[in-house]
């Protein structure tokens, strides 16, 4: 079976690791191919190096090197290089970059500088983390540099700042007026992205941020049309439990685009292509969708087994909708 997923960072990565675990322990599904289309709107150049936070979180999580506690960055990390940058007065210092993590950014920047596309670079990085051996293909949504910027207004006046500055430095606490995917007007889907959707047997939307992760990927020219046109069932997992995000600041993001912070409203963002919607047990009674089947179940990925079970439930719903 060919499964294609759209994903942001931490939540998407944990869910997809769970999905791979579920596939591997289900005899009929073990040889399934999983293609992940990763958000690159979070990408940022720091200290002259290209950092791709969502792709890295996916690589490290699927490669077994993630810092489990924080959900991003490397386990057993150290921060000696960043201490040097601070001593030299280099900016910014609000984005934590570890010594091991720097290795990824240095080699990615080197390869990009040699003219390789982000797809090619990501493929090389994925080799090191054993993704092909796990039958996982990780694709950036686009090879064009796209950066999500946030138009904010506070006592310093109105201005656009990089998404990471808003998210990491300000913890989404500055009221945002809108998001702008800078560069998207010149972007095209990376090689394989549209085909991975068109040729999928199942499409999964993990519980990633619906605005700044999934929403950005949906903005890549052709992606939304491919989802609308796909014969495969598209099943999503709500990122909200009881009207609040499980993790991160989806509430602030939804407020910015004028969408209620409810599973129904999030499903509404996907209405033109969504076939199934997995929500929290306690939310199920309130969710009625015209075009998609709704199922309630516990959504918290408290450990790897819970993530595998959740992913299995999403896949089961998709297979049910497929009539398999």
């Amino acid at each position: 079976m060919r499964i294609t997923a759209l994903a942001g960072g931490v939540g998407g990565a944990r869910f997809l690791r769970g999905l791979r675990t579920h596939l591997d322990r289900t005899p009929d599904l073990a040889d399934s191919e999983l293609t992940i289309i990763g958000n690159t709107g979070d990408d940022i150049s720091l200290f002259g190096l290209r950092v791709c936070p969502d792709l890295d979180t996916l690589l490290y999580t699927l490669g077994g090197a993630i810092h489990e506690g924080q959900g991003w960055g490397r386990a057993d990390e150290s921060h000696r290089l960043q201490g040097e940058l601070a001593a030299y007065g280099a900016e910014p210092q609000w984005f934590a970059l570890g010594d091991l993590d720097f290795g990824t950014h240095v080699v990615r920047s080197q390869w990009l500088g040699q003219g390789l596309s982000l797809s090619d670079v990501t493929g090389r990085l994925a080799q090191r983390w054993g993704l092909p051996d796990q039958r996982i293909r990780l694709l950036p949504m686009t090879d064009s540099p796209v950066e999500t910027h946030v138009v904010v207004e506070d006592e310093e006046g109105q201005r656009a700042i990089h998404f990471q500055e808003w998210w990491v430095r300000h913890q989404a606490s500055i009221p945002a007026q809108r998001f702008v995917a800078v560069g998207m007007d010149r972007a095209t889907a990376a090689p394989g992205v549209l085909d991975a959707i068109r040729q999928a047997d199942v499409v999964i939307l993990p519980p990633s941020n619906p605005v700044v992760s999934i929403g950005i990927i949906l903005g890549v020219p052709g992606v939304r049309d491919a989802l609308r046109g796909s014969a495969a069932p598209v099943v999503g997992v709500s990122p909200l439990v009881g009207g609040m995000p499980v993790r991160g600041h989806a509430d602030a993001c939804l407020a910015t685009i004028g969408v209620e912070c409810t599973p129904s409203a999030v499903a509404g963002l996907y209405e033109d292509f969504l076939d199934g919607w997995l929500v929290a047990t306690e939310d199920e009674p309130q969710v009625r969708l015209r075009k998609a089947a709704v199922r309630g179940r516990p959504l918290l990925m408290t450990d790897r087994d819970a993530a595998a079970d959740l992913a299995g439930a999403a896949l089961d719903l998709a297979l049910e909708l497929k009539g398999a």
Copy 2:
């Protein structure tokens, strides 16, 4: 007093730290200004980052952060980032770069990428290491990218390799046919370099490699003419003791350019501007120079005091020649 020195890496850095110590503990000389013109022919781009080995050795040594045992790199260094690069299969792996050291290369590359000159960048780096507070000014010989390449011939045929590959990877063991300072034809001396020579009260040549360190600096347009024209005494320290280099592969370098590995022959390379030449006690009887005064004394910089004493002897010879 204004003292100007030309310098390569380890030997030059140790000598100049000794010179600063000597100046600081000599009441009449404590407010002397020391300008160092550093060799940049060793510079190399690794993993997309600009590495300036000689400037870094000078910064770390004068800044009190050098790995005393090896003479280059940082004390208390770790190599986690480089381990990552190796795991990703990035090349080359024959040049050791530590996590702390990477901080310098990342920030230098960032600043160069922002359009700062190597002089400006070096000035910023020197701030962090407290050089201005020590009345030390570190200037790169040129802001133009110049790289010393080595034409070698072995079983793989004749080819040009970067100086660092010859020196570090092959330990100067592949016979070299000649050195080429790539980019020198378009280079000009960095701001302040020629004036630092012209306006000096004393010019010192530390025991740096006469071919690939001092020799490269002498090749920067205007430097040799400024030395010839300077009214200041120019005093050099032999890098050889008993016909062998104290450190490094000066013997292989001298052989390549067809010069004997003797203090007299090295002095011959500087004949048009050299006024005083400090050689090892045991070498003194064999050294007779037409144009320069020769003094013999122990040259080994076994510790910081020995380096200060040696530098003091070089300065004393210069002051004697100056008639001070």
